[in-house]
């Protein structure tokens, strides 16, 4: 109990109670908790949509969804929800808010009120996005919203405009959040917490915040142009007015590709913490790991057109984007090998978060190698817009990210709630979900190779077999998902209380494990002084 005095003070602190505590919250932990709950809500909606899609696709012919616009709306909303309202809020808003200040020894975020507005903007955006699917015909454009299909001629009614507004509001939330993280990490590190002593999760959130800050405004600009195309007669993306539909694709993917890394880099951070903790070793090649994330972030901005190999780009342009994209495999490889090297020589405890981290490596490697294939413009002509791409990106950024979120939740829930998850049930949940997603997504590689296009409610009969297997996988995954939510409920209701500051033992060296469990309302009110290895050197805080 290094911080006994500070902790006692924290527990005595007065904080608002009831709804005011949450609605008016300026506390990084409460806001982080709200982000995680928002992510749960969106995950249930987005997950239900994907199960409905898989139900339709379990057999050839039309089973349940005879309104194909509605099918396209499901595809669109599933993508938006999972990207903007499940993965980003949980990892950046949730774990980022909770643990960046704790890990760097800061009492809170730099701009607590801005933190509040970031969250509530996102909550409003979620409502707008869900509304967009029920007003008018819904946006049947895919999450890429390519014009002319997204223009007013082809998507009349207010749905797409609602969607654009939702993304604008979510984008504003992301930008404010990113500013908050950057300022906090640059200015509020405890004495001695140099940049090169920061935990890798903090590095991950820092890189992610920069990606958000630079990418989201581009999306906002493109969305505004689309909005005026739809409503005010401009023709940015309409060829009959001198515009160009391909311009949208360039702008969208200039945002969209960094967005992929916005999703996966925080996952890298979580996985690094978890693997280090349960191998009882510091992360192997710390500097390489930190700068691998930085270089993935930088290179991520100059590879966007690999999403556009079939639009008719010049061959030289495609050659460039192929080469640039392949380069990303190098820092990614550094990360994988460093995680393996961290485990090598470690003393590995197979607690549930560690299982999830190992699952993450497996999924990420499979998604990674298919990414190397897809990076080649030459072969992309066989794969573009097929289920191969669907399988690839679900492996590499969807389910890999979900496993990082599971790992983070199991790892930190004791600190966040003061209660521990049920051990055996959580391991069963891991296995059910892990088997489920592999049965779900692996056969989709075969479907894609055989030529099945994405975003179709019905398919030629030959694709039935693997689609059926894939839908069975979706069912198993659904069971795993509900088990997770049961575990969440069980943990809060009757999970074993966590009394130790650090329930994970010698491997957990970051600063969140020196404050009590559950973390009191205020922490690090007196700043710790950090020595080498990122550990506090003094029992008491230094004099001002």
């Amino acid at each position: 109990m290094a911080y006994g005095a500070a902790a006692a003070h924290g527990e005595h602190d007065h904080h608002p109670t009831g709804w005011k505590r949450w609605v008016y919250s300026t506390n990084h932990k409460d806001i982080g908790t709200m982000y995680i709950w928002l992510s749960f809500v969106a995950a249930i909606i987005g997950g239900a949509m994907s199960w409905y899609i898989r139900l339709e696709l379990a057999h050839p012919g039309i089973q349940y969804i005879d309104d194909f616009q509605f099918y396209n709306v499901l595809v669109t909303a599933h993508g938006f929800l999972m990207v903007f309202f499940v993965v980003m809020p949980a990892m950046i808003g949730g774990f980022g808010n909770w643990f960046v200040p704790l890990m760097i020894g800061a009492p809170d975020m730099a701009f607590p009120r801005m933190n509040n507005i970031s969250f509530w903007l996102l909550a409003a955006a979620l409502v707008l996005l869900v509304l967009s699917t029920v007003v008018g015909d819904g946006p049947g454009t895919g999450w890429t919203v390519y014009p002319p299909l997204s223009n007013a001629n082809y998507q009349p009614g207010p749905s797409v405009d609602f969607g654009i507004l939702a993304l604008h509001v979510a984008g504003a939330s992301s930008i404010l959040g990113a500013v908050n993280f950057i300022v906090t990490i640059f200015n509020m590190r405890a004495p001695g917490m140099t940049m090169h002593r920061m935990p890798l999760f903090v590095w991950a959130i820092l890189v992610t915040a920069f990606l958000l800050l630079l990418a989201v405004p581009v999306l906002a600009g493109a969305l505004t142009m689309l909005l005026t195309d739809r409503n005010f007669g401009t023709t940015f993306f309409a060829p009959d007015g001198g515009g160009d539909p391909v311009l949208w694709q360039h702008l969208f993917w200039f945002f969209g590709h960094p967005e992929v890394y916005i999703i996966i880099i925080p996952a890298f951070g979580i996985i690094s913490q978890v693997i280090s903790t349960f191998s009882k070793r510091p992360v192997f090649g710390y500097l390489g790991m930190a700068y691998a994330m930085v270089s993935i972030g930088v290179v991520g901005f100059i590879v966007w057109a690999h999403h556009m190999y079939t639009v008719g780009l010049d061959a030289d342009a495609r050659a460039y984007f192929t080469a640039a994209t392949l380069i990303i495999a190098v820092p990614t490889g550094i990360k994988i090998f460093s995680w393996l090297a961290t485990m090598w020589g470690g003393s590995i405890e197979f607690e549930t978060p560690m299982l999830c981290a190992i699952g993450f490596i497996w999924l990420f490697v499979i998604g990674g190698v298919t990414g190397v294939l897809l990076a080649n413009a030459g072969i992309d002509f066989a794969m573009h817009d097929t289920y191969y791409v669907v399988a690839h990106f679900h492996y590499v950024m969807a389910i890999a990210a979900i496993f990082a979120m599971f790992a983070g939740w199991y790892y930190w829930i004791g600190k966040m709630s003061g209660r521990q998850y049920p051990d055996l049930l959580s391991k069963v949940q891991f296995w059910v979900f892990f088997i489920g997603v592999n049965v779900l997504f692996f056969p989709q590689h075969f479907l894609g190779l055989a030529g099945m296009p994405r975003r179709i409610p019905d398919y030629p009969d030959a694709y039935w077999g693997w689609n059926y297997v894939s839908s069975i996988g979706a069912l198993i995954t659904a069971v795993g998902t509900f088990m997770f939510f049961y575990i969440v409920w069980y943990t809060y209701r009757s999970g074993k209380p966590v009394t130790a500051d650090n329930p994970w033992g010698e491997g957990a060296t970051t600063l969140e494990w020196v404050v009590p469990s559950p973390a009191p309302f205020h922490t690090h009110e007196e700043l710790p002084v950090i020595g080498s290895g990122g550990r506090p050197t003094t029992q008491a805080a230094p004099a001002e």
Partner: protein
């Protein structure tokens, strides 16, 4: 058809040879069938030089990908076994090793170069038509394709999907059209592609063909079909409500048969005879 009959229909698909028997069309009984087979796990058989090269490249990539996955899996399995807390109670405190880090940066670079060289060759190989002998113009609409033969008298026809109820036995569902594209084998064909409403994508997997049909733009590809047969594809860019219902059906025939078909087609689709409609004008007309 009752639900029992429907089930039976589906069971048939499970058995590849029955399904093949059902699908083999009387016209192309001995010819190539360019469509996916039940439980297919790999690319469709190649029927063009581009697809041939895609196959070769894919085989190379598979070796690399499977190799990397197995390598990582082996290490992962080994460390989980050897360095579990039970077998290795005292963790090592080594935190870096410069040589190792240089190696795992350099080796992937070498692997990437090995991949990139054939990848780039393939990319430039299928970029532009060389010495093409004829041109096919393709225009995408919501939700059908229009084909135009500028070198054979500039006739033009729409290719409308056949609804499920009107299919004849042997015609695959969601892949059959009323007027298919007929092309000669062993001929370098330039394909020019555009659209007049939203973005579509003209894709025929067995021919290695996939290119966006974008309004306001004309995209160019080339194809050379090696074997006579029927090749199927589907629109490969989300284009609205009936996106999954605008198939592409290409019939490759001998040069003589093609000449005969052209004579028939010129009569049948005579509305375009004599005019010199090109894609740009078609584009203007559609506005």
């Amino acid at each position: 058809m009752g639900s029992g009959g429907k089930m039976l229909e589906k069971l048939k698909i499970l058995v590849p040879f029955i399904a093949l028997g059902v699908m083999a069309s009387p016209i192309a009984a001995s010819a190539e069938e360019g469509l996916a087979k039940p439980w297919q796990m790999n690319l469709q058989d190649a029927a063009s030089p581009v697809m041939d090269k895609i196959h070769d490249f894919h085989s190379l990539l598979m070796v690399v990908m499977v190799g990397i996955v197995l390598f990582v899996l082996a290490i992962l399995g080994y460390v989980c076994f050897r360095f579990s807390a039970k077998r290795n109670p005292v963790p090592s405190k080594t935190s870096h090793n410069t040589l190792l880090e240089v190696v795992w940066t350099a080796v992937p670079i070498v692997i990437l170069i090995i991949i990139a060289i054939p990848g780039m060759r393939l990319l430039y190989f299928h970029d532009r038509a060389q010495d093409y002998e004829m041109t096919l113009k393709v225009t995408g609409h919501q939700w059908y394709w229009t084909y135009n033969y500028p070198d054979q008298g500039d006739f033009e026809f729409d290719s409308i999907p056949v609804p499920e109820g009107d299919l004849e036995p042997g015609q695959p569902r969601l892949l059959t059209v009323d007027n298919r594209v007929v092309l000669p084998v062993d001929t370098n064909i330039q394909v020019l592609i555009t659209a007049d409403d939203v973005i579509h994508n003209w894709a025929v997997p067995a021919l290695g063909m996939k290119i966006d049909a974008t309004p306001g733009r004309i995209n160019e590809r080339w194809v050379r079909i090696d074997k006579e047969g029927m090749y199927y594809g589907m629109c490969s860019e989300l284009c609205g409500v009936y996106h999954s219902f605008m198939p592409i059906q290409v019939e490759a025939v001998s040069k003589e048969a093609f000449a005969k078909w052209v004579e028939q087609a010129q009569e049948e689709f005579a509305q375009n005879d004599g005019s010199s409609v090109n894609l740009v004008e078609a584009e203007q007309k559609s506005r």
